[in-house]
């Protein structure tokens, strides 16, 4: 009888389990919340503008990203008359999935990350912890509830064990750059969903009350292994008004003058539709929309309408050098598939379908970054060339064309594909995507992140331009 009562009680508790709701925003305020322009510079100049992106890839991605963070800390540069660490000039970090853990931790704890993060996350067998939680009978009842999934359980764990209950209110209170953008994917639209107040404004929700753990769990909710996370949408209840550009960009739909900008506007209108039209949002792994976290930065560089537009700063002549460091932990595991005539199985086919398009898309995104940044140089060079050629024909022929603001650009890539030795490259490319890796593997990932950064030709150009030096591991410049 007692057992039956206990079981009934557990079932009842299970039925009550639900996701923790993101808080409602009473009144929209453009000058409040987690926004790029609200963060204090604290010695971080705009003139050297540094964006870093961390890709997905579980602990492999987290360790590679962490190795790059360490290397940036140990890179000494000369800028505006004094020497400083390049890490102190990082303005924005955009992250996906596994890369979101070091990013979120750095947003919360700053340089204390280097003392705390390795034990809290990197070297910890998180995967075993998550599995143990899922196998705990009391959690079975909670997981049986329709609005509580395995990722909610994981978020509770990250909140307790990794982020110590930290929320965006704590990040806002730190009030320092970099602006850290954790990215998930809106399952319905397939659009990237960044955890910034500008996006939460659309939902009339206050990001300040959202735990970092929930943002990291959304960003890393790997489809299949982990469930999507649910967020409440209170759209239409806080007096929010879309920025001026949204209506104009949506009106451009028929002329197709800028389809990407129109699509961004339409996504915003769909999320903010009063009613709300979509009372709940389901967020899955950020890698579904963009596995390297570069789409947001690309839009910020190429659009005056982005919530943290870099182009606006460039137009205002505030940026002289623009550095974009892409840390990509993508792998290319070896396969025995083509050694046999057998038809590939369902799991193999589905895994291929889920990962190969993403890798191709990532390649195209990096290419687009190179082209976009090159445009800044090309247009200024063209004007200079025309002025020079016309002036050579005589004073009367001199054109004196005006040039847009000239920006030095440095697209830097840290990726396993740039490892020179084939054997070593293949070893890294065959690492699994998991939240548990052997300590020696994590050590190697940290070291290779540092080395690949040091070897990148554009990073070398940057160091030369800034009289910089990346100290060897454990050494000094």
């Amino acid at each position: 009888m007692k057992r039956a009562l206990l079981a009934a009680l557990l079932l009842l508790l299970g039925a009550c389990a639900s996701f923790p709701e993101n808080p409602h925003l009473e009144h929209y305020a453009k000058d409040a919340g987690y926004r790029f322009e609200r963060l204090q510079h604290a010695g971080n100049s705009d003139s050297l503008f540094v964006i870093v992106t961390f890709s997905g890839g579980g602990t492999r991605a987290a360790a590679l990203a962490y190795g790059v963070l360490e290397a940036l800390r140990d890179t000494s540069i000369e800028w505006q008359g004094h020497r400083e660490s390049l890490l102190d000039e990082v303005d924005v970090i955009s992250s996906i999935s596994g890369g979101s853990f070091p990013a979120a931790y750095y947003a919360l704890r700053g340089r204390k990350t280097f003392d705390e993060f390795p034990d809290k996350f990197l070297y910890r067998p998180i995967q075993d912890d998550l599995l143990r939680l899922a196998l705990t009978p009391t959690n079975w009842f909670r997981l049986a509830a329709p609005s509580f999934g395995r990722s909610d359980l994981a978020a509770e764990f990250y909140d307790r064990e990794v982020f110590g209950g930290g929320t965006y209110a704590d990040v806002i209170a730190r009030n320092r750059r970099p602006f850290v953008v954790l990215n998930a994917t809106d399952m319905t639209t397939g659009a990237q969903f960044p955890f910034i107040q500008d996006e939460f404004d659309l939902l009339c929700s206050d990001l300040a009350g959202v735990p970092l753990a929930r943002a990291a769990a959304s960003s890393s909710a790997f489809p299949g292994g982990l469930t999507a996370l649910t967020f409440r949408n209170y759209a239409g209840s806080c007096g929010y008004r879309q920025p001026a550009w949204v209506t104009h960009a949506a009106d451009d739909h028929d002329s197709r003058v800028n389809a990407r900008r129109t699509a961004r506007a339409e996504t915003r209108l769909s999320l903010a539709a009063p009613g709300p039209a979509r009372p709940y949002l389901h967020l899955t792994d950020g890698g579904v929309a963009d596995n390297i976290g570069l789409r947001g930065p690309l839009e910020a560089i190429a659009s005056v309408d982005h919530p943290w537009s870099v182009l606006r700063l460039i137009n205002g002549k505030k940026v002289d050098r623009l550095v974009v460091i892409v840390v990509n932990a993508a792998t290319r595991p070896a396969t025995e598939r083509d050694k046999s005539a057998s038809v590939p199985g369902l799991v193999d086919t589905l895994t291929t379908a889920a990962t190969v398009p993403l890798d191709n898309y990532s390649f195209d995104t990096v290419e687009l970054l190179g082209k976009t940044l090159e445009e800044f140089n090309a247009d200024a060079r063209l004007v200079e060339g025309c002025n020079r050629l016309s002036a050579a024909k005589g004073e009367q022929c001199a054109l004196r064309l005006r040039s847009p603001h000239k920006v030095g650009v440095y697209p830097v890539q840290v990726a396993f594909e740039y490892i020179t030795g084939r054997e070593e490259r293949d070893w890294f490319r065959n690492l699994p995507t998991s939240f548990k890796l052997p300590p020696a593997t994590i050590d190697r990932l940290r070291a290779v992140g540092r080395r690949l950064l040091a070897e990148d030709p554009q990073f070398k150009n940057l160091l030369q331009a800034l009289h910089g030096c990346l100290a060897p591991q454990g050494g000094a410049c």
Binding site: H248, D251, N258, R261, A302
Partner: protein, 73 residues
């Protein structure tokens, strides 16, 4: 990337879609599409704003968006 030049007799802040975006009489970069241009500081200019669809410009031939000084201002 598109290029525009917002002209006015003196140097003034340029606002594109309600956000600061450099100064008048300089070549500015914008993404293609319809934008609202206006000037900052004093309201001694006309028109009050200009809504322009920017496309097909180049750095050698930026699209000119003209503001004039208001008579008597």
């Amino acid at each position: 990337m598109e290029h525009v030049i917002v002209t006015f007799p003196t140097r003034r802040l340029v606002y594109i879609d309600d956000e600061e975006n450099g100064y008048t009489n300089e070549v500015l970069r914008v993404d293609a599409g319809t934008h609202v241009f206006t000037l900052g500081n004093l309201a001694n200019f006309r028109p009050a704003s200009r809504t322009v669809t920017v496309k097909g410009s180049s750095v050698l031939e930026p699209l000119e968006i003209k503001f004039l000084r208001k008579e008597g201002a």
